[in-house]
């Protein structure tokens, strides 16, 4: 066995023979799983249908597998094979509900929300979540080409009136815009894999709810989504294609049903000659945190494990100083840097395995329990789920190495534990549930060891979706692996400093 291998074995022997540490880690894993599964088991949800409670319908899922909202007014006809639609969006107007000024009196003002959408669309049927491509005028983001909920390309025209054209050839869709209906510029192209021969083509209007945020008394943020609707006037409509001339049909796709069984905030359309006036409510977009629970929410117990891991890792080194064992250790292996490295390997590996077992049980099982209780859980790929599990374990391991290094640097257990907890948990706390505004909160999660919590993020931020992208709702400022890299850098830095200090100091 190599010299370093023997050192690692010696440190492993020291670790596993202290009963309190082993029990502490087992308890940490059990607490993580227990708290996670307990909360999952306690979360129930059901939906009302008239006077009875039924299981909530599952959220529609887009072609890419993500949860989506797909609600809009659609005036459409059949298109077989290749074809095109051209229309002029003459105007877009709308109404927004604002907080009531007088109680009980609905406060509606006229206006269009920034991401209201009006334009032309090709869609694989009228089912929510079906593949689509569309060119549209938006409230404040100009002409855009969007497809399959996540794809988004900007055009040049700023606002209505605007001419829009969408051309289909096979599974390829090309969007065009024009100011005068004569010279056309391409906005973007989209490939809808597996688009069938027969699709629906037509005009659509959507208007996402108006988001407002206020602070709640407990320190969190309450978001409210208020009703908005948009109305667009379409002129000069022409459809080219094999089935051209088919009758127009209207669908209020994804409309919510009220308790009386009638549509709640329905859209609508009026045809006057060749002019269509279409009113729409809702949005065509991926949903974030408001679409359901996130799998990482089953891991709230990880904080317990984090504190136990910090205490055990600090004691792994400070106990040697307290008992004088450090002198034996350093006599037996005078190369001090390697001793600390061996300790870091053992502490990191042991806590990684602990975290892997805890998260590996909690996440998949917690998700099943949540789903069985009727909760909507945002769908994620297996790879993402594995990243959350392994990443959480890695975060525990990095925290253990950081705590070990702080223990070696500071030698006093209480100071090392406090500093380790203060730099890993406190910034997360301040960034998520305190009075701190968004920007400083984001900087805390970029610059401190708390950045590593980003590895748990399963939500995706979309620039074309207005939402509250804040840490408390599960959106971190750094990408998952980037955040973990920041934590790793802190652990490496602290370990490096500890090695230098251990070499230059009497034990």
């Amino acid at each position: 066995m190599s010299g370093f291998g023997r050192l690692v074995r010696a440190e492993w022997t020291k670790f596993r023979t202290v009963r309190g540490w082993v029990l502490g880690l087992v308890a940490a894993a059990a607490l993580t799983a227990g708290l996670g599964l307990q909360t999952a088991a306690g979360s129930h949800s059901s939906c009302g249908a008239g006077t009875v409670e039924v299981a909530c319908p599952s959220a529609p899922v887009g072609p890419g597998g993500e949860a989506v909202t797909d609600a809009f007014s659609f005036v459409h006809q059949r298109l077989d094979g290749d074809g095109a639609i051209t229309a002029r969006v003459a105007s877009v107007t709308g109404r927004i509900r604002k907080p009531d000024v007088r109680p009980g009196v609905t406060n509606l003002v006229s206006g269009v929300v920034p991401w209201a959408k009006a334009g032309v669309m090709v869609k694989d049927g009228t089912k929510e979540g079906a593949a689509y491509a569309a060119v549209m005028v938006t409230g404040a983001h100009g002409v855009r080409m969007q497809h399959n909920f996540t794809g988004d390309t900007g055009g040049t025209t700023a606002s209505a009136p605007a001419w829009l054209r969408l051309v289909r050839s096979g599974d390829k869709l090309i969007g065009y815009e024009s100011a005068d209906g004569r010279t056309w510029a391409e906005v973007g192209t989209a490939t809808l894999a597996g688009l069938p021969d027969s699709v629906r083509i037509g005009l659509f209007v959507a208007s996402p709810g108006d988001l407002t945020f206020s602070q709640d008394a407990l320190g969190g943020v309450v978001s409210a989504q208020r009703f908005t609707e948009a109305t667009a006037v379409f002129e000069e409509i022409s459809v080219l294609g094999a089935a051209a001339g088919d009758a127009w049909r209207y669908d209020d796709i994804g409309v919510t049903m009220g308790p009386d069984g009638k549509p709640h905030h329905p859209g609508g359309h009026v045809r006057r000659g060749d002019t269509f006036t279409v009113t729409g409510v809702g949005d065509i977009a991926p949903v974030g945190d408001e679409g359901g629970m996130r799998i990482e929410q089953t891991l709230t117990g990880l904080f317990t494990a984090l504190i136990v891991v910090v205490v055990v890792a600090v004691m792994f080194i400070t106990a040697e100083y307290r008992r004088g064992l450090i002198r034996t250790t350093l006599t037996a292996s005078p190369r001090r840097g390697r001793v600390l490295a061996a300790k870091a390997v053992v502490a990191g590996a042991v806590t990684f395995v602990t975290g892997l077992v805890a998260a590996g049980i909690t996440v998949p099982l917690g998700r099943r329990i949540l789903e069985a209780n009727g909760n909507r859980v945002l769908p994620v790929s297996t790879l993402t789920e594995m990243r959350v599990v392994a990443g959480s374990a890695a975060l525990l391991a990095l925290t253990a190495v950081l705590a070990l290094a702080l223990g070696a640097l500071l030698r006093r257990g209480v100071v090392a534990v406090t500093v380790a907890v203060a730099v890993t948990v406190l910034p997360y706390f301040l960034a998520t549930v305190s009075v701190l505004p968004l920007e400083p909160a984001r900087w805390l999660l970029r610059l401190t060891p708390s950045a590593g919590f980003a590895i748990q993020q399963t939500l995706v931020e979309y620039p074309q979706v207005a939402a509250h992208y804040t840490p408390v709702l599960g959106y971190y400022p750094l990408p998952p692996w980037g955040g973990l890299a920041v934590s790793a850098a802190y652990a490496a830095l602290a370990l490096g400093l500890a090695v230098v200090k251990l070499r230059g100091r009497d034990a």
Partner: protein
């Protein structure tokens, strides 16, 4: 009792870390308060509470000071000398608690005054902060008491747990972990339950001056929760100290 106090005071005074830790309580509390005040751009929902935000960080140093007062003795074996010289173990813990109260009262007052001063200078809407006003005075004085009670809670835990790293873990877990749990839980009823249970959330309710009717606890009742935690910890620590080998 005065002899107990003198002995403990001599130990505390001659331990090199004490002065630095007291300084750290002031610097960290006022510093974090000032940083938050400088970072806030719009007038916050609760101005006094935002001005006192640094207490969340400063309490960790108070915990370190309190844990070291007793775990430090276990670490070096000094505790045996202490208990030989002063066999009335309850008296030893009481003397430590009295000294800790005095020191955190002094450091906490300076820290809170510093935070309020920083708030007046930096916080939008902070110019109106005045300690003559009832709710603001209650928030400020309550914050000092909060720090004192966190110290006593930590002292009790340290007397019970003895090992300093473990004691720090228990104290920080009680404070930060329970506070985080309150917000990570989805269910509103459980959230309010955890809020009432958590020594930090409940205790810091004493800082609240806005939206009081929406809080699960009144300000003083909240500080009472923390006081109950501190009393329970001190009792447990005292009993264990009395009936256990040192």
């Amino acid at each position: 009792m005065s002899r107990h106090l003198r002995a403990e005071w001599t130990k505390l005074r001659t331990t090199p870390g004490t002065g630095w830790l007291l300084l750290a309580v002031v610097v960290l509390t006022a510093g974090v308060s000032a940083a938050v005040a400088a970072a806030v751009t719009n007038q916050p929902f609760d101005v006094p509470r935002t001005a006192l935000a640094g207490v969340v960080a400063g309490q960790a140093v108070v915990a370190v000071l309190a844990v070291l007062m007793i775990s430090g003795e276990y670490g070096t074996g000094m505790i045996r000398t202490t208990l030989t010289a002063m066999p009335r173990r309850g008296g030893v813990l009481a003397a430590k608690a009295a000294l800790l109260t005095g020191l955190t009262l002094a450091a906490g007052t300076v820290a809170v005054l510093g935070s309020v001063a920083a708030g007046r200078l930096l916080l939008p809407g902070g110019q109106a902060l005045s300690l003559t006003g009832g709710p603001v005075l209650r928030a400020a004085a309550g914050s000092v008491l909060y720090l004192v009670l966190v110290g006593l809670l930590s002292l009790g835990v340290a007397a019970a747990v003895r090992d300093q790293a473990a004691a720090a873990g228990v104290v920080l877990g009680l404070l930060y972990l329970l506070a985080l749990m309150t917000f990570l839980i989805q269910d509103a009823d459980w959230q309010r339950f955890f809020y009432r249970l958590s020594p930090m959330n409940a205790g810091l309710t004493v800082q609240a001056t806005a939206g009081l009717q929406a809080l699960p606890l009144s300000p003083w009742a909240g500080l009472g929760v923390l006081a109950a935690w501190a009393a329970a910890a001190l009792t447990a620590g005292g009993l264990l100290l009395k009936h256990r080998d040192a």
